[in-house]
Symmetry: C2
Subunit: 261 residues, 2 copies
């Protein structure tokens, strides 16, 4: 009976929540959660969704449990509408890849959709002027899933061509020294005057943005934690001032080569 089969047909959405507050989620993400019977995610991301979760089956789990969470989501999605949530964009250091990997491995032919969100690079950049206006690179300093020598090689490649670099996971308890290492690599190629933005809790409560330089960054290092995104400017980036106030970083797009203003 087709109608019975259809009823048992589940679905899976992998939802990027953006920076955290509901006003920075897309309407599509809100709707996907509203349509779900089950919502799975890291406890820290489910909190701000609370009012949307009434009457739903909510399964929260802790960091480090991503593989188990993916398996559970797929198990449930065989016969239910399931949403698995991820901070920022689900496709950038988020749940999308592990869910799709586990799904492929399972052989289940479940209907799956990835819903994008505002990733930390763009959220942090918006609080620091326009540091990522042109080409840029994104790298995680966590060596939990990527060997440290690979991270170092990539940092060298990025800094050597003078593009702004966004550091995800710049520092955490397990790897306090990787940030100092990244700064060392940056200094091989970039002047001490290169601007750096340290953005903690971008677009969330207790947001804090520090604009400093590569030469003076040690003075702000203790501000960096796992809720921080760091943007190291490129060779063309400069401090943005309004009057006497440092407001952020501008990486000019190149219009100055074509126009007078």
């Amino acid at each position: 009976m087709p109608s019975h089969a259809e009823k048992n047909q589940g679905s899976l959405v992998i939802v990027g929540l953006g920076p955290g507050k509901r006003e920075y989620m897309t309407a599509r993400a809100l709707k996907a959660i509203a349509s779900a019977e089950y919502v799975l995610g890291h406890a820290g991301y489910l909190g701000p969704l609370e009012p949307l979760l009434t009457g739903k089956n909510v399964i929260s789990s802790s960091m480090g449990k991503e593989v188990d969470r993916a398996k559970q989501a797929i198990e449930l999605a065989r016969s239910h509408a399931v949403a698995i949530v991820s901070g920022g964009d689900a496709g950038v250091y988020g749940m999308a890849s592990i869910v799709l990997e586990v799904l492929e491995h399972s052989g289940d032919l479940i209907n799956v959709e990835v819903i994008p969100g505002v990733t930390a690079a763009n959220a942090a950049a918006s609080r620091a002027g326009s540091p990522l206006s042109g080409d840029f690179a994104v790298i995680s300093l966590s060596d939990l899933l990527t060997p440290l020598e690979v991270i170092e090689k990539r940092l060298d490649a990025f800094f050597s061509v003078g593009i702004p670099v966004v550091l995800y996971n710049p520092k955490s308890r397990g790897r306090p020294h990787n940030f100092a290492l990244a700064v060392e690599h940056a200094r091989k190629y970039l002047a001490g005057t290169t601007p750096v933005a340290i953005v903690r809790n971008a677009l969330r409560d207790d947001e804090e943005t520090i604009i400093t330089t590569l030469g003076e960054i040690e003075a702000s290092v203790e501000k960096i934690d796992m809720h921080t995104t760091v943007i190291i400017g490129g060779s063309e980036s400069r401090i943005w001032r309004m009057g006497d106030n440092v407001k952020g970083i501008i990486t000019p797009r190149g219009y100055h080569r074509k126009y007078v203003y």
Copy 2:
């Protein structure tokens, strides 16, 4: 009189609209437009906003007029609430940098805010599985504002470390050959089996996604236009299949090195 001064105090928001449809805008972006007296932007981005623009002063201009548009926005923002809109994220090849540059140059102390949006890299990636799960780089192939030799050097740096690379402006009338050049650089470092996603009109009407490989990309080149984002996978990226169907690209996050699933 302070109240008079306050009344004359304008404001400027630089709004990232995301991929184009309203459901992929953030609530914050919608609110910023609702609060504006003047809305400025490229005609192509203002269309989908139409129902939100009733009763507002709408100033649309064409591509290539970014500097004039920025100047006009700042002029108006001296005494009005002004929103200037940008596709995707305003900070990524968008209006943020040029507006802030012109604003700084003008010396006006106008209240300015950048509102982030879902950038094309993340929108396109969400339609192609999870190609950007780990570190990645973003580069525009337009040599209008960046010299071609700089673009080529950056492409080499990115491809040489095996990360996925997102190509903005992969092809347009003025520069049809830059895409072939990028492919040439990619082939110096990456196998012909490296997956490539060609995403046209991501999350808009007439969306089309092609999953191919670096070795076979010539067969799909005529699909690429200025509404297309191309993602060239990294050395660890692979085709994602469900049953016999090619569904997209997965760049594994590295869990396979730590877990069995």
